[in-house]
C-alpha cells in the first residue's frame, strides 16, 4: 500500500518508462477568458454519452423542454442521464451520426431551441454538509456526470468504490498537445474546481488529495494552489511535461511510484483518479443545481483564426459550431488531441460530455502518413512506450495475426497512447494495428465462447437423439416380440377364429412399414441414370418404382390378407405369410440395389438381350412386367424365367436377380391367386385385381414414408457426428 501521508510532505516524484515530447502548441488557446456558450438553432443530444447504458427516455417528440430538464432517467447501475442543454421543443428522436470514430448512428434527441434559454426549476444547495452522502451521490448521478477527461466513466460509481480509498488523485495534467480546456478551467474557476474536489473527498471518506498539473501550466498551478491554500489534506504537485503523463496509470506511477496491476484498477491500490473538469461539474451540480449540460471545448488548429476555449452546450452540432466560428472547411476535424483523438467521420455529430478539443488543422499541420516504410527495428517505439511494451514486436505479430504471441507480448496492456507511432521513423500506423489486433482477438474469443456453447448444445442434442433412438428400438423390439408371440399363439389358440386379431394385424403392419422404410433407404443410395429395355438412357426412377412397388405390395398384402383371412378362415398364417413376403421383398430389393452396379455373372446363361444384363434394367422390366405384362416387357419376363422359374417356389433371398424372380413369382402367384393354399408359405398371396389400391394402402404408404424419412434423418445425424 501507498504511504499517503508521505505524499503530502515528500517532494519525490517517480518517472514512468518511455514517454515522448511532442510540440504542445497550446499557447494560442490557453488565454482567458473562456468564451461564453452559443445557442445553436437546434441541438442533438445523444442519449448515451458515457461508458455504460443509456437511461430511459422520459420525453417524447413535441414536448417542450426547459434548460436542465431531465431527458432520460437512470434506471439502472451504469446508466447516466442526459439533460436538455437549453429550452426548446423536442423535434425528433432517432438515429443520427455519432461523435465516435466509427461514425455509426446512435439515438439522439433533436431539440429545436427557442433562444430563451429558460431554466427549469432549480434547488441549489448552499451548504453541502446538510446533505447525506447518499443524497449527494444521487444528486451527482442525476446531474448526469461522467468522467470528462476521456473515457467517460460514470462518476457516481467511481465515488462509491469497493475498496477503501486513501488517495484521491485529481488529474490536471492535460498532457495532450493542443488541448487547454482543463488548463483554462483551473485558471478561471479554481475555487469551484476545488469545491468539487472537496465534495468528492468527502464521499471517499476524506483521503489524501493530490492535484497533479503539468509544469507547462504555471497559471493554473498558481490558481489551484491559492484555491486550496486553507485545506490541509490537499497538495498541488507540479509534474514534468511529458506525454502521456495524464494517462491514469502513468499519473499514479508519477505520484506514488506504484503500478496498477495489469488486470486491476486504481482502486486496488487505494487510489481513485478524477479529472478537474469532473470535479467542477460536481460542484456545479450541487451548488447551482446545474446538471452537466455544457463543457469547455478547445477549438484550435491552424485554420482557426482565434484559437480559444469555449463553453459549448452538449449536443451542439460540431459543423454548426464551427460555422459559427467562421470555419467552412471542415475536413478534417480532429476530436480530442492529436495523439489519441480521432478524425470526425461526420461533421454534423454533436459535442458530447467527453469532447474536450476540436482541431481544424491546415493541410500541412498534421501530415498524413502516406510514406509508410518497413520497420527497421530501430527500437524507438520501445523506448517511447509508457507501458514498457515492445511495439515493434507487437507490430510483427499483429501483421502475422499471431494471437498467442500478441498475448504473450501483453497487447492488452497497451493504452493506445500513440507514443510509439509518434516516434516511429517508418511512419507505421502502430496504434491502428493494435486496435485491429485487439478487435481480432476479442472477436475470436467471442467465437470460441460461441463454439463452446454450440458444442455443448450439439452434444446435448445427440444425447437426446440417442435416447430417443433407444426408446424407439425398445418399442420396436416389444412390438416384434408381441407379434412373434401372437404368431405362436394364434394357430393353436384361435385356429377357428374367422376375424383377424387386431393386435396381429398391427404388428404385421409395423413389420411391413419397417420393410418399406428399409427399402426406401436402400433405394435412396446410389444410381443416376439407367438403361431401359430399348437401350435408351432414362432418368432413374427406381425410387419411384420402389415406392410404387411398395405401395402395390402393401395393397396386395392387405388384400390377400383380407381375402385369405375371410376365405380360408386361417388368417394368422396368411398374415404371417404376408409379413414374410414383405420382408423378403425388402431384402430382395436391397440386394438388387447393391448388386446393380456389378456385372451380372449369371446373365450370359439366360440373357438373350444384352440390356437384360443390367439389373436395374431388369428391375424396370420387372416393374413393367408387374404392370400386367405388357408386350415389350414380356420379352424379359420370358427370358428371365429360364433361370428363375424353377426356383419360383423357393426363397428368393439369395439370387442376384431375386427381385426379378420375386416379381415373376408374384406374377405367377397372380394367376394362382384363387387357389392359394396354407401349406405353402412362400408364394405371395396376391389379388387378381392388381390396380386396386384402396385408401388404407395409401395411408399406410404415407406412414411408411414418414418413418423412412425419420430413419434417414437419424442416419444423417449419425454421419454428421
Amino acid at each position: 500500500m501507498i504511504d499517503v501521508k508521505k505524499l503530502l510532505t515528500s517532494d519525490q516524484l517517480w518517472d514512468y518508462a518511455g514517454g515522448v515530447f511532442p510540440e504542445y502548441r497550446k499557447e494560442q488557446s490557453r488565454q482567458l477568458p473562456i468564451q461564453p456558450a452559443w445557442i445553436p438553432p437546434f441541438v442533438r443530444v445523444p442519449i448515451r454519452q458515457h461508458i455504460g447504458q443509456s437511461g430511459n427516455l422520459i420525453v417524447k417528440v413535441g414536448d417542450h423542454v426547459l434548460k436542465g430538464q431531465l431527458l432520460t432517467e437512470p434506471t439502472h447501475g451504469m446508466a447516466v442521464p442526459v439533460h436538455a442543454p437549453t429550452s426548446g421543443i423536442v423535434e425528433a428522436i432517432g438515429q443520427t451520426p455519432s461523435n465516435h470514430p466509427s461514425g455509426l448512428n446512435e439515438i439522439s434527441l433533436t431539440i429545436r431551441t427557442d433562444g430563451l434559454d429558460t431554466w427549469c426549476e432549480r434547488k441549489p444547495v448552499a451548504d453541502a454538509s446538510t446533505l447525506s452522502d447518499n443524497d449527494l451521490l444521487q444528486l451527482i448521478r442525476y446531474a448526469g456526470i461522467s468522467g470528462m477527461g476521456g473515457a467517460g466513466f460514470p462518476t457516481e460509481i467511481k465515488l462509491t468504490p469497493v475498496n477503501p480509498i486513501e488517495l484521491l488523485l485529481i488529474n490536471g495534467a492535460e498532457c495532450e498537445p493542443y488541448i487547454s480546456a482543463d488548463d483554462t478551467l483551473m485558471q478561471a474557476l479554481a475555487e469551484q474546481v476545488v469545491a468539487g474536489i472537496e465534495l468528492m473527498a468527502r464521499l471517499l471518506n476524506n483521503p489524501v488529495v493530490i492535484i497533479a498539473i503539468e509544469a507547462d501550466k504555471p497559471k493554473a498551478i498558481a490558481a489551484m494552489e491559492q484555491a486550496c491554500a486553507d485545506w490541509e489534506q490537499v497538495r498541488v504537485r507540479t509534474i514534468p511535461a511529458k506525454y502521456p503523463s495524464g494517462g491514469e496509470r502513468q499519473l499514479i506511477q508519477i505520484i506514488t511510484g506504484q503500478e496498477v496491476p495489469s488486470n486491476g484498477i486504481p482502486a486496488d491500490l487505494g487510489v481513485v483518479v478524477h479529472n478537474v473538469g469532473t470535479a467542477y461539474a460536481v460542484a456545479r451540480a450541487v451548488y447551482q443545481d446545474e446538471p452537466l449540460i455544457a463543457r469547455v471545448v478547445t477549438i484550435t488548429g491552424n485554420r482557426v483564426l482565434k484559437p480559444a476555449n469555449h463553453w459549448v452546450l452538449l449536443g451542439t452540432p460540431i459543423d454548426a459550431l464551427l460555422h459559427h466560428h467562421g470555419l467552412d472547411q471542415l475536413d478534417p476535424v480532429i476530436v480530442g488531441g492529436p495523439m489519441m483523438g480521432y478524425q470526425l467521420p461526420h461533421a454534423e455529430a454533436p459535442v458530447i460530455k467527453t469532447t474536450n478539443c476540436l482541431i481544424i488543422p491546415s493541410q500541412d499541420e498534421l501530415p498524413s502518413a502516406d510514406r509508410q516504410m518497413p520497420c527497421i527495428r530501430c527500437g524507438s517505439c520501445a523506448e517511447a512506450c509508457p507501458a514498457n511494451l515492445l511495439p515493434q514486436q507487437l507490430h510483427w505479430y499483429a501483421l502475422a495475426e499471431d494471437q498467442d504471441k500478441l498475448n504473450e507480448h501483453n497487447l492488452f496492456d497497451c493504452i493506445e497512447c500513440g507514443a510509439c507511432a509518434y516516434v516511429c521513423p517508418s511512419e507505421i500506423p502502430l496504434v491502428l494495428e493494435y486496435r485491429q489486433a485487439k478487435a481480432m482477438i476479442r472477436s475470436s474469443r467471442q467465437e470460441q465462447l460461441k463454439a463452446e456453447r454450440a458444442k455443448q448444445r450439439f452434444e446435448a442434442r445427440n444425447e437426446r437423439l440417442e435416447q430417443e433412438k433407444q426408446a424407439r428400438a425398445e418399442k420396436h423390439k416389444k412390438a416384434a416380440e408381441a407379434r412373434l408371440k401372437a404368431m405362436a399363439d394364434k394357430p393353436s389358440s384361435s385356429a377357428s377364429e374367422s376375424s383377424p386379431d387386431s393386435a396381429t394385424k398391427q404388428s404385421a403392419a409395423v413389420a411391413a412399414a419397417l420393410a418399406r422404410a428399409k427399402a426406401k433407404k436402400a433405394s435412396q443410395q446410389p444410381q443416376k441414370t439407367m438403361i431401359d429395355a430399348a437401350g435408351q438412357t432414362v432418368p432413374d426412377n427406381s425410387d419411384v418404382a420402389a415406392m410404387r412397388e411398395a405401395r402395390k405390395a402393401e395393397a396386395r398384402a392387405k388384400k390377400a390378407q383380407k381375402q385369405s383371412s375371410s376365405a380360408s378362415g386361417n388368417g394368422a398364417s396368411d398374415k404371417s405369410a404376408a409379413v414374410a413376403a414383405a420382408v423378403a421383398r425388402a431384402k430382395a430389393k436391397r440386394q438388387a440395389q447393391a448388386s446393380s452396379t456389378e456385372p451380372d455373372a449369371q446373365q450370359p446363361l439366360a440373357a438373350t438381350a444384352s440390356n437384360a444384363a443390367d439389373d436395374k434394367a431388369a428391375r424396370v422390366a420387372a416393374a413393367v412386367a408387374r404392370a400386367k405384362a405388357k408386350r415389350d416387357a414380356a420379352q424379359h419376363s420370358d427370358a428371365k424365367p429360364a433361370v428363375t422359374a424353377p426356383s419360383e417356389e423357393q426363397p428368393a433371398a439369395d439370387d442376384k436377380a431375386a427381385r426379378v424372380a420375386a416379381d415373376v413369382a408374384r406374377a405367377k402367384a397372380k394367376r394362382q391367386a384363387q387357389q392359394a393354399t396354407d401349406t405353402d408359405q412362400k408364394p405371395q398371396p396376391t389379388s387378381a385385381a392388381e390396380p386396386a389400391q384402396d385408401k388404407a394402402a395409401r395411408i399406410a404408404q404415407a406412414v411408411a414414408k414418414a418413418k423412412a424419412k425419420r430413419a434417414q434423418q437419424a442416419a444423417q445425424d449419425d454421419s454428421e457426428q
Binding site: 514512468y16 506511477q253 489519441m340 498524413s368 502518413a369 527495428r377 515493434q392 507511432a421 511512419e427
Partner: protein
C-alpha cells in the same frame, strides 16, 4: 483528406532521413581517412555505394516494387558507404563489387529486404572478402606520411582498376614504407610483435604508431567518434550499443593490460585503432540486425566489445569488428527474448 488514425502528429525524423544523417555523420571520418590514406577509400566508397544502390534498384525492379521510392530510403547507400570505408583503399575494384552485390543482393534482399535481414549487410560483404581474399583484405598501405610512394588521384584510380599506379608501381611497392618494409596496420604490428616476444612499449616505438594509438588511425577513430556523438546528440542512435561495446572493450583490455602490461595491447590502443569507433557508432548500430530492446542493446554492444577483444588478442585476424558484429547478429533473437522489459502492471517480464 484522410489522416488514417491517431497519432496525427509525428516526430520529424523519418527513416530515410535517419539513414541520410548516418551517412553525413560518416563524413568527418571519411575525410580524415582520406587525408591519411589518400584517395583510395573515396574511390572504394563511391564504387561500393554505387554498386549497392544499383543492385538494390535492379532487385526492386525484379520484385516489381517502386525502385526509386525504395532506394530513396538511403539504406543501400549507407551499406555501400560503410563497406567502402572498411575495405583497404587499393582493393581491386571487382572485389569491392562482389562484396557490394553480395551484401545487398544476398544478405539483405534474399532475407526480404529492409528490416528483415539477420546480418549486417556491409559486414557480411566485408567478411566474404576477408575469407576469400585474406591477403588483399589486410593489405593497407602506410599512412601517406610514411609512404615511399605517395599516390595521387590518378594513381589511386589506376591502382584500384588495374592493380598498378600510373607510374607503374604495383600495389606491393606502394605499400612499402620509407624503410622499405611492407606496411602493416598498427593492430597487425602489435600482434606480430607481441607474438615475437617484443614488449608493447618496444612495439609502440615503431613508426606505424602515433601519439597514443596507430598513426593516422587514432585521428580517424576520433573523427568517427565525433560523428557518432553527433548521431547520439540528434537521437538518431542511442547510447546503448556503442556504449556497451566501448565499455566492454575497455574493460576487457584493461583487465588484460593489468595482468600483462607488456604482453597485450593497451585499452587506448584498442579503442582508437582499427575499426573500433566506426564499428561502435556506425556498424554495430545498424538497427535492423541489432537487438531491439534497450537492455538487449547494451548486452549486444557488450558482446561485440568482448568478441572484438578476443579476436584481436587470440584470433587469426588483426581486427575483429566485422566478425564480432556478425557473431553478435546471430545472438540477437536470443538476447531479445531474454531482455524483454517488464510490462507496466506486471510482476515479471514474460
Amino acid at each position: 483528406m484522410n489522416l488514417l488514425s491517431s497519432p496525427f502528429t509525428r516526430q520529424s525524423l523519418k527513416t530515410h532521413e535517419l539513414m541520410r544523417m548516418v551517412i553525413l555523420c560518416c563524413i568527418p571520418g571519411i575525410l580524415v581517412q582520406a587525408y591519411f590514406f589518400g584517395y583510395g577509400n573515396l574511390i572504394q566508397i563511391a564504387l561500393a555505394a554505387a554498386t549497392c544502390w544499383g543492385t538494390e534498384a535492379i532487385i526492386m525492379i525484379m520484385r516489381n516494387r517502386p525502385a526509386l521510392r525504395i532506394t530513396g530510403d538511403h539504406s543501400a547507400l549507407l551499406t555501400g558507404v560503410l563497406l567502402g570505408i572498411a575495405v583497404p583503399p587499393f582493393l581491386p575494384w571487382w572485389m569491392t563489387v562482389i562484396a557490394a552485390v553480395f551484401a545487398i543482393g544476398v544478405v539483405k534482399h534474399l532475407y526480404g529486404g529492409l528490416g528483415n535481414n539477420l546480418f549486417n549487410p556491409a559486414m557480411a560483404g566485408y567478411v566474404l572478402l576477408l575469407i576469400s581474399f585474406p591477403v588483399a583484405m589486410t593489405s593497407w598501405q602506410p599512412v601517406a606520411a610514411l609512404s615511399q610512394h605517395p599516390v595521387g588521384v590518378w594513381d589511386s584510380l589506376q591502382l584500384v582498376f588495374t592493380g598498378f599506379s600510373a607510374d607503374g608501381f604495383s600495389l606491393q611497392q606502394v605499400r612499402m614504407t620509407i624503410d622499405g618494409i611492407a606496411a602493416a596496420t598498427p593492430l597487425d604490428t602489435v600482434k606480430t610483435d607481441l607474438h615475437q616476444g617484443l614488449t608493447l612499449d618496444e612495439s609502440m616505438l615503431k613508426p606505424v604508431f602515433g601519439s597514443f594509438a596507430g598513426a593516422g588511425w587514432e585521428w580517424i577513430n576520433l573523427a568517427f567518434l565525433l560523428g557518432g556523438l553527433y548521431l547520439i546528440y540528434r537521437r538518431v542512435t542511442s547510447w546503448a550499443i556503442p556504449g556497451g561495446m566501448l565499455i566492454s572493450l575497455f574493460v576487457c583490455s584493461a583487465i588484460g593490460f593489468a595482468f600483462s602490461p607488456d604482453g597485450t595491447a593497451s585499452p587506448l590502443l584498442h579503442l582508437f585503432s582499427g575499426a573500433t569507433m566506426l564499428g561502435a557508432f556506425f556498424i554495430a548500430t545498424d538497427p535492423v540486425s541489432a537487438c531491439t530492446t534497450v537492455r538487449g542493446r547494451w548486452i549486444f554492444g557488450a558482446l561485440i566489445g568482448l568478441l572484438v577483444y578476443v579476436i584481436r588478442t587470440w584470433g587469426g585476424y588483426p581486427d575483429g569488428v566485422a566478425f564480432a558484429v556478425l557473431l553478435a547478429n546471430m545472438c540477437v533473437v536470443l538476447i531479445d527474448h531474454y531482455s524483454k522489459p517488464r510490462t507496466y502492471g506486471h510482476k515479471e517480464a514474460r
